[in-house]
């Protein structure tokens, strides 16, 4: 290090992706890799069958779990000019994103370009309303922290006392959908146990249940979110509109897949 140590300076590295997602993916990938190691020990055509079966099953499990923690159930994005911060009259041009998950919202603010007013404008802030967490407090903390105006504006719309009513609506929807997904996950576990025991029909039933619970969860989410008219979210001149996000659609797909597979198994068993 010569004589200059330890005058280290330099940027602090940040983990590139969402950690929860990374953990879920890592767990399921590890299971997959283990299975792939075991795969050569399975003989003949069964190998392909098992491969398909395990990959599908792991995929379903991973999706149910990941979607539960995802914040992309409802998403919206708008590019606008907006005021930036307190004690400053300057405006910035930025992309504002809103991602609503089951447990909270995620608000992103990315300057276009990122460097404006001598500052790096790249925010990704989370506000949660999961059980045991206090949204209002988080919002107060954000105020104290001094987050930029657009972020605070959006977060404020989701506070319990905001006349928008978004909080109650999304929180309720989120709670129930999340609960349904947990039940679906349990069913998925049971389905796997049963499928590896010689009670295939029950496995099929469980798979069916997995799918149905996922769909039920989606139903909760859609009804609750479509009941009240959305509150207009104006950022500068533009208005932010939200629509269903990838988490919603992928849940729908896997839910349908589970239902189909489950039905197929049940029907096949009836036919036998």
């Amino acid at each position: 290090f010569g004589h200059t140590f330890p005058f280290y300076a330099g940027p602090k590295p940040t983990f590139p992706t969402d950690t929860t997602l990374a953990v879920i993916v890592a767990i399921f990938l590890t299971s997959l890799v283990t299975f792939i190691i075991i795969l050569p020990g399975i003989r003949g055509k069964m190998r392909l069958f098992w491969m398909l079966r395990v990959v599908t099953s792991l995929f379903i499990g991973a999706v149910i779990l990941a979607v539960n923690f995802s914040s992309e159930w409802s998403v919206g994005q708008v590019s606008t000019n907006t005021s930036y911060k307190a004690f400053s009259s300057q405006w910035i041009s930025a992309n504002v994103g809103l991602q609503i998950g089951l447990g909270g919202v995620n608000i992103t603010l990315t300057g276009t370009p990122v460097q404006q007013l001598n500052e790096t404008i790249d925010y990704n802030e989370e506000f949660t309303w999961r059980l045991g967490e206090n949204y209002a407090e988080e919002y107060a903390n954000a105020l104290e922290k001094g987050l930029p105006d657009p972020v605070l504006y959006l977060a404020e719309k989701f506070t319990p006392h905001s006349p928008c009513g978004l909080h109650g609506q999304y929180r309720l929807a989120g709670h129930y959908t999340s609960a349904m997904l947990w039940v679906a996950f349990l069913c998925w576990l049971l389905a796997n146990v049963m499928l590896s025991m010689p009670v295939l029909v029950y496995g099929g039933h469980m798979l069916l249940a997995t799918g149905l619970f996922q769909l039920l969860g989606l139903l909760f989410f859609s009804t609750a979110t479509s009941l009240t008219p959305p509150c207009p979210l104006r950022l500068g001149a533009a208005t932010l509109h939200t629509h269903r996000g990838p988490a919603y659609w992928i849940t729908l797909t896997t839910g349908l897949l589970c239902v189909l597979l489950g039905l197929a198994m049940v029907v096949a068993h009836r036919m036998q």
Binding site: I27, S31, G41, K85, N118
Partner: protein, 1454 residues
């Protein structure tokens, strides 16, 4: 009673304000006058290129000559008093955590710091402490916190003048001390506010209007920077000392020269100054300062401050001005123009307007500064701007800031002395304080006459007493000591290396001690053996020469007696049984090699074609005796011999040991069989790619008689071996060469019947007279029978021969010619043409069978059973076609036309029942190495699925723990700052620590033997391979040690980095351990290793692990199991130390105990169960060493020990000195008197068991060590009797339960004829027959007792080609090419049929349905490797799908 009338003020400033307790307290935020200005709006300081380099700026704007006097005649005393006021009020000196550095990059060629023009000099500058609640977003930029409490204000007990004396003792950093004003009331605040401040600003603060509780007295960062900066311009290069009578005394410098004044740069920071030893010296200093005029109030700063300011320890000098500039940037101070605007001062738009006077007198400074700022006035920072403003007085900016601060401090201070409401002082006292000046204080303290001081000590005007001799400049003062760079690690390198080297040596030390233990044991053993030998000698042995035979590096030496006979050397053991015979034949060239060192007691006899004989003697004389007689014997046998001498080690290296020889032979056989057998192409696979030299050696190798016998699994004395050997040994040299062996094999396997019978004829024509006598014929028969077992008496045999002769019409002949012989053999097979016969074993049995029938030795029925024949399916591929051999059928020869066979069989088949399909299934043997390994891998994975799964889960958890910590320290622990100090080290050490904690905790579960025993009976065994617990234990241990080494390596890196990090960094990392007092060196490496709890315990842990692991290694465990067992119990200490290791919470809170708790509780519980188990000692009745490493133990049946066949017990052996129980299946049947076990030596325990129960060398009747017995356990397969037909499938070691079952079955069927069971098929799957030879004995026993033909046995040998051991191969040859003797396989002696390949379960079950059409339910019991039981299960499922016989499968895995 000492009650006082005023409220006591806190030192830290808390509660000064009644509403806002924190205001002005120590650790509170600095309050900005102007919004912060940071590069990112949040906390990143502005810097180059936006702003100039601080040193460049200091060089440009603040450089100048010393010696210009203050324009207002301010005294030096005022400057130093100011410093003290400030240091009381404000200090941000405390560096922030985590450490952040804004370094001063010295411009290349700087005259002070970069004299050798290296251009890479960097002065460290650490950012100061900030409020962690700020600095997170642009609306809330970073705010610093004050280290001193501004709220204490200018009043109270802590006021400046009063605190001065104490600093002398506890703060060595302070400037030269000032005297101690005695007693209360305190005049300090008055002096500061009303005497010093006006003198400094030349402006009186506004009148005191009373306490203003809503005024926040907090220090502003602008004040902090401005005041300090301004003083520095007034600091002189030196300070005068004088006495009361105006005598300015000289100062003695370090180099003993005398100068006019104390040099500031050399005195600041020096605690024991030679010129300041006595109290009077301090007085002299104060008086000197009062007379000395300070430097001018301008932009120029003397070199003492600018170039030679004391730096941090690492760099002895720094640029105070540059540091101040950086501090300003660290504080996020606004620009000059912004500050002016905010503070309401008139705007400045041109550079000249900053200081019109200066621009007039020396405009270049402003121009150069403007150039540094790119002529952009808006960028000009507050500090240089404020400094450039000053001309004779602080400029308007600084004045405003300072005055504002002082007024706020006064008015917002509840304890201000003028505040009459605080009850501190009475009006009178207030007035008194107001009238006290610093002069009064000084006069009181220094005891000088008041005439020696001017009334206003902050000015010296003309006419005041004692004028200074002249304005001080650097001239005539000693030069400042140049900067020094200190390397904290200097001198530690060697010690550090040695320490690490020592740590690395731990395993070596442990290795050494293990070696010593092993050596001691070996010596003990030798002594014992020596005693044995002594007694043997005395008792019996004459005629032989006693010696020790050395058998190889790894084998033990054995005591032998050497008998020299003509042509032979015999070696016998204590009981005179022959251990080895060496043939001495004339053409041999014998080498006799003698050792030349170590007491000259070794002798090596190299005889070609034998493994070498190495004898060790106690004394050289003994050896001499041996050599003499050897010479004699060799001469007598007419052998050439040569004698050599070698050193003992070389001699032993030169010796070809038995093991080496057997490797050679293996190659020999491989080549031999690949020459002869079909398996050459199909099954043998590629011969190992031996080096051609090895092959060459093997091909020139010759087989001795003993080796030949051994390779056949027969005794050398057996007649078959004898005659076969002498027949094959064409040149009669007593050895079989490759050629000779090949010739005879070719005849056996490929030759015509004539050739074969001729061969046999020659073989049994013992006297070689070309005729076979009756006697010889009898001997021939006996030799066949010998091979399996002797079932005929001599008279019976004679009878057999008589009748054979009679039947062939040779009743009157005494001797047979070859033609007779040939005819006789042919004559006795009516069904098969002679040409189809194979040679020797072939014909005879048929004959014997006939005879036996007559002798009614074996029941009629048994001899002519209904043959179960399988159709032969000719295949194109190279499958080995092995057929279920009907009793009377032998293998078709290669010359045999298949159609004919089929015709023949076909005819038979029609007359019999459906066939049982038992043909072995073999996949095509692949020659390619790659394919082979792939195949092996698949098989491995199939059987080790559970292992892989469990390992994956375990290691995934361990890896996850590692990653979690790695993630934390790499990305999430920025607030700790440790990542910046030691990134790799901390990630590695903490990550591995987490994994280690997990592994060392859960390793305990692998040793919960009771729990495992219990669980392996449950369904969990399907998912968790409990039997692999010990392997798993080892695996965990070996992974953990790797991680431990990484952990320690990580900490070595950490320790290195910690010992070169300055205290300011360390105090951030370890706030509990280090205090950044700025004056001490960081702790050195040895402190970390040996004086911290984790370090010391870590080193101890390393030592313990070194001991444990070395002693646990396979080698030392074998040498000294006791050593292993004792050292292994260090694990208790290990856990204790591990808990202590983390308990110090150096880096993070301890976690080990969290991992440890659960497994530890389980383990303790398990141990308690073990302890509470009652133990009965059981004596062993009989112990037998069977081939293939199997030990047969027979022991007493404890009272009331009831068990069912197929159950298992756990035994511990007392002699093994442990409480280690191992499970073994009972091989005795429940009706037997004693219990018996067959134990295969596979691991340490079983191997040692075998050693212990090997028959004692002395003659005393066996006193075997006793056993502990626990059990019986397991449900076994006791349900077999509930089925009419059962199939038992045993694979590998999984056959053991069936041994008992079979015995039991046969017994029951013979005793009570009421057994429901009608037929039992026993399928035995094994890799090579050799692995479980002992089972053959049991099967033979079963077969003998099985009068009702209840049991049908099929043996499947699966790895003929892969394993290729000679015995199995010979078995293969014999089963293929030779008829069985007496219905029994020539080699196994069993009736059962041997197949080569894996059993075709599905086809077998299918045919079973046909064989037993009336049976509705068949029980299948399988036990063995999971892959096999799985296959059985699958086959059953497949068959059960059809609506026919139900196969009900029960299985157990081993």
């Amino acid at each position: 009673q000492n009650s006082i009338s005023w409220e006591v003020q806190r030192f830290d400033g808390w509660y000064n304000n009644l509403m806002e307790h924190r205001w002005g307290s120590k650790g509170s935020r600095l309050q900005r006058l102007v919004p912060a200005s940071y590069a990112d709006g949040v906390y990143q300081p502005l810097g180059e290129p936006h702003l100039p380099n601080p040193r460049a700026l200091s060089n440009t704007a603040m450089r100048g000559p010393a010696g210009l006097a203050s324009l207002q005649n301010r005294t030096v005393l005022g400057v130093f008093f100011g410093y003290h006021v400030l240091s009381d009020l404000v200090s941000v000196e405390k560096s922030g955590c985590p450490a952040e550095f804004l370094n001063i990059h010295i411009p290349p060629g700087d005259p002070v710091f970069d004299r050798d023009q290296s251009g890479d000099v960097v002065l460290p500058f650490q950012r100061s402490r900030w409020d962690p609640e700020t600095g997170q977003s642009p609306s809330n930029p970073r705010d610093l916190v004050s280290a001193a409490g501004g709220g204490v204000g200018l009043a109270g007990p802590e006021a400046a003048a009063e605190r001065i004396p104490s600093r002398r003792t506890h703060d060595s950093r302070g400037p030269s001390p000032l005297p101690d004003p005695p007693g209360r009331p305190t005049p300090g605040s008055n002096i500061a506010m009303y005497e010093w401040l006006p003198s400094f600003l030349r402006k009186m603060p506004p009148e005191y209007a009373g306490y203003r509780p809503f005024l926040d007295p907090s220090i502003s960062p602008e004040f902090l920077a401005a005041s300090e900066q301004f003083f520095s311009t007034m600091v002189p290069p030196g300070v005068y000392m004088r006495n009361a009578s105006c005598h300015f005394q000289g100062v003695i410098n370090r180099n003993s020269s005398v100068s006019r004044a104390l040099r500031v740069c050399n005195s600041y920071w020096s605690r024991e100054h030679p010129n300041l030893q006595r109290a009077e010296d301090v007085d002299a200093l104060l008086l000197g300062m009062a007379s000395q005029i300070a430097e001018r109030e301008d932009h120029v700063v003397v070199e003492d401050v600018r170039d030679f300011w004391p730096g941090p320890l690492k760099f002895s000098r720094t640029d105070h001005l540059a540091s101040c500039l950086l501090r300003g940037r660290d504080l996020g101070l606004p620009s000059y123009t912004k500050a002016r605007a905010t503070l309401g001062l008139p705007p400045v738009t041109r550079w000249q307007d900053i200081n019109p006077a200066l621009s007039r007198s020396d405009g270049t400074v402003l121009e150069a500064t403007a150039a540094l700022y790119n002529q952009d006035l808006s960028r000009l920072e507050l500090l240089p701007g404020g400094l450039l403003e000053s001309h004779g007085d602080p400029g308007p900016l600084f004045s405003t800031i300072i005055l504002d601060q002082f007024v706020r401090l006064r008015d917002g201070d509840r304890y201000w002395f003028e505040n009459s409401k605080n009850g501190l002082f009475s009006e009178r006292e207030i007035a008194e304080i107001r009238n006290t000046s610093l002069r009064d204080v000084l006069v009181a303290v220094t005891k000088v006459d008041s005439g020696a001081l001017q009334p206003s000590v902050f000015f010296w005007h003309a006419g005041d007493p004692c004028p200074q001799p002249g304005q001080l400049s650097t001239e005539g003062l000693p030069a400042c000591a140049p900067p020094i760079m200190r390397d904290y690690f200097e001198g530690s390198g060697f010690g550090f290396g040695v320490t690490i080297g020592t740590l690395c040596c731990f395993p070596l030390v442990s290795l050494l001690s293990a070696w010593i233990v092993a050596q001691l044991r070996r010596r003990n053993l030798k002594r014992l053996q020596g005693q044995d030998r002594q007694s043997i000698m005395c008792e019996k042995l004459m005629g032989g020469i006693k010696a020790m035979e050395w058998q190889g590096r790894k084998e033990p030496c054995r005591p032998v007696l050497v008998h020299l006979q003509p042509g032979q050397i015999h070696m016998v053991d204590g009981r005179l049984s022959v251990l080895r015979t060496v043939q001495l034949r004339p053409p041999q060239q014998v080498n006799l090699i003698l050792s030349s060192n170590h007491g000259r007691r070794a002798l090596l006899l190299k005889i070609p074609k034998e493994y070498d004989l190495v004898l060790l003697f106690d004394l050289e004389e003994e050896r001499q005796v041996m050599v003499e007689s050897l010479r004699g014997a060799l001469k007598e046998s007419g052998l050439n011999f040569q004698e050599w001498e070698l050193r003992e080690q070389e001699l032993m290296r030169a010796a070809v040991t038995r093991e080496q020889r057997s490797h050679l032979l293996e190659t020999f056989f491989r080549h031999l069989f690949s020459q002869v057998l079909d398996i050459d192409q199909a099954d043998a696979g590629a011969l190992p790619l031996d080096s051609s030299q090895k092959v060459q050696e093997a091909l020139t190798c010759e087989l001795s008689r003993a080796e030949f016998a051994e390779s056949l699994g027969l005794k050398p004395q057996d007649m078959f071996v004898q005659s076969m050997f002498s027949l094959a040994d064409k040149d009669g040299n007593g050895y079989l060469s490759f050629r000779e062996f090949l010739d005879i094999l070719v005849v056996f396997m490929k030759g015509s019947p004539e050739e074969k019978s001729r061969l046999m004829f020659r073989m049994y024509d013992f006297d070689g007279n070309g005729l076979i006598s009756k006697d010889e014929f009898i001997r021939m028969l006996r030799s066949f029978i010998e091979i399996s077992n002797n079932c005929l008496t001599k008279t019976q045999l004679a009878e057999v021969v008589e009748s054979m002769f009679r039947e062939s019409g040779f009743q009157d002949k005494q001797e047979l010619t070859w033609e007779d012989f040939h005819f006789m053999l042919r004559d006795h097979d009516s069904e098969l043409r002679f040409t189809q016969l194979c040679v020797k074993g072939v014909e005879v049995p048929e004959v014997i069978k006939d005879l036996c029938r007559r002798a009614s030795y074996i029941s009629q029925e048994k001899l002519c059973p209904s043959p179960r024949v399988s159709a032969r399916r000719p295949r194109k591929d190279a499958d080995i076609e092995v057929e279920l051999t009907p009793r009377r059928l032998q293998y078709p020869n290669d010359t045999d036309p298949p159609q004919e066979i089929r015709r023949r069989f076909g005819k038979k088949v029609t007359s019999f029942q459906p066939l049982l399909f038992t043909e072995a299934h073999r996949e095509k043997f692949q020659r390619s190495r790659r394919h082979q390994t792939v195949q092996q891998f698949k098989r491995f994975v199939e059987n080790y699925r559970r292992h892989i799964g469990c390992l994956a889960v375990f290691y995934a958890i361990a890896g996850g723990l590692f990653l979690e910590r790695a993630y934390y320290y790499a990305f999430a622990a920025h607030h700790k700052g440790i990542t910046d100090t030691t990134r790799v080290g901390i990630i590695l050490s903490r990550g591995t620590a987490a994994s280690i904690s997990f592994m060392f905790s859960y390793i305990l579960l692998t040793m919960c033997r009771n729990l495992i025993t219990f669980l392996r009976e449950t369904f969990l065994n399907r998912y968790v391979p409990f039997d692999a617990a010990v392997d798993f234990h080892r695996l965990i241990a070996s992974t953990a040690i790797v991680l431990t080494v990484l952990h320690s390596a990580g900490h070595v890196v950490n320790v290195y980095l910690f010992s070169i990090s300055p205290l300011s960094v360390l105090s951030c990392l370890f706030p509990g351990l280090f205090h950044d007092n700025g004056s001490e060196f960081p702790q050195q490496y040895y402190w970390w290793f040996f004086q911290t709890v984790p370090g010391l315990t870590g080193v101890m842990l390393l030592l313990i692990l070194a001991i444990m692991y070395i002693f646990a290694s396979r080698h030392f465990r074998r040498c000294s199991f006791r050593g292993f067992w004792l050292t292994h119990h260090l694990y208790i200490l290990l856990y204790v130390l591990l808990i202590i290791h983390g308990s110090f919470a150096l880096i993070q809170l301890p976690r080990f105990h969290i991992f440890f708790l659960v497994p530890a509780l389980i383990y303790v519980g398990d141990k308690l169960v073990s302890l509470s188990r009652k133990k009965v000692e059981i004596s062993v009745v009989k112990a037998e060493l069977l081939p293939s490493g199997v030990t047969h133990l027979e022991f007493q049946r404890p009272q009331g020990f009831e068990y069912k066949s197929g159950q298992w017990v756990r035994i511990a052996c007392l002699a093994l000195g442990t409480t280690e129980y191992h499970p073994f299946t009972l091989t005795s049947a429940p009706h037997e008197e004693t219990l018996s076990l067959h134990i295969r030596a596979v691991g340490p325990w079983t191997t040692r068991l075998r050693e212990i129960y090997s028959p004692p060398t002395d003659d005393s009747c066996a006193k075997y060590p006793k056993l502990y017995l626990d059990g019986p356990f397991g449900e076994g397969h006791q349900e077999w009797h509930k089925f009419e037909v059962s199939v038992l499938v045993g694979g590998g070691i999984g056959v053991t339960p069936f041994a008992s079952i079979l015995k039991d079955l046969v017994f029951k069927s013979s005793v009570s004829c009421q057994v429901f069971c009608k037929k039992i098929y026993f399928i035995w799957v094994t890799r090579t027959q050799r692995q479980f030879e002992w089972l053959a004995d049991i099967i033979r026993e079963v077969e003998e007792n099985d009068r009702q033909d209840l049991v049908s046995v099929h043996i499947y040998i699966t790895q003929l080609a892969e394993k290729f051991d000679l015995r199995t191969t010979m078995l293969y040859i014999c089963e293929r090419h030779f008829q069985k003797v007496l219905n029994r396989s020539l080699f196994t002696g069993l009736r059962s049929v041997t197949h080569f390949g894996r059993p075709p379960f599905e086809a077998f079950f299918n045919s079973l349905q046909k064989v037993h059409p009336q049976v509705r339910k068949i029980g299948v019991f399988s036990c063995g490797p999971p892959g096999m039981t799985k296959n059985v299960e699958k086959a059953c499922q497949l068959i059960n799908r059809q609506d026919r016989t139900h196969f009900s499968h029960h299985y157990e895995n081993f």
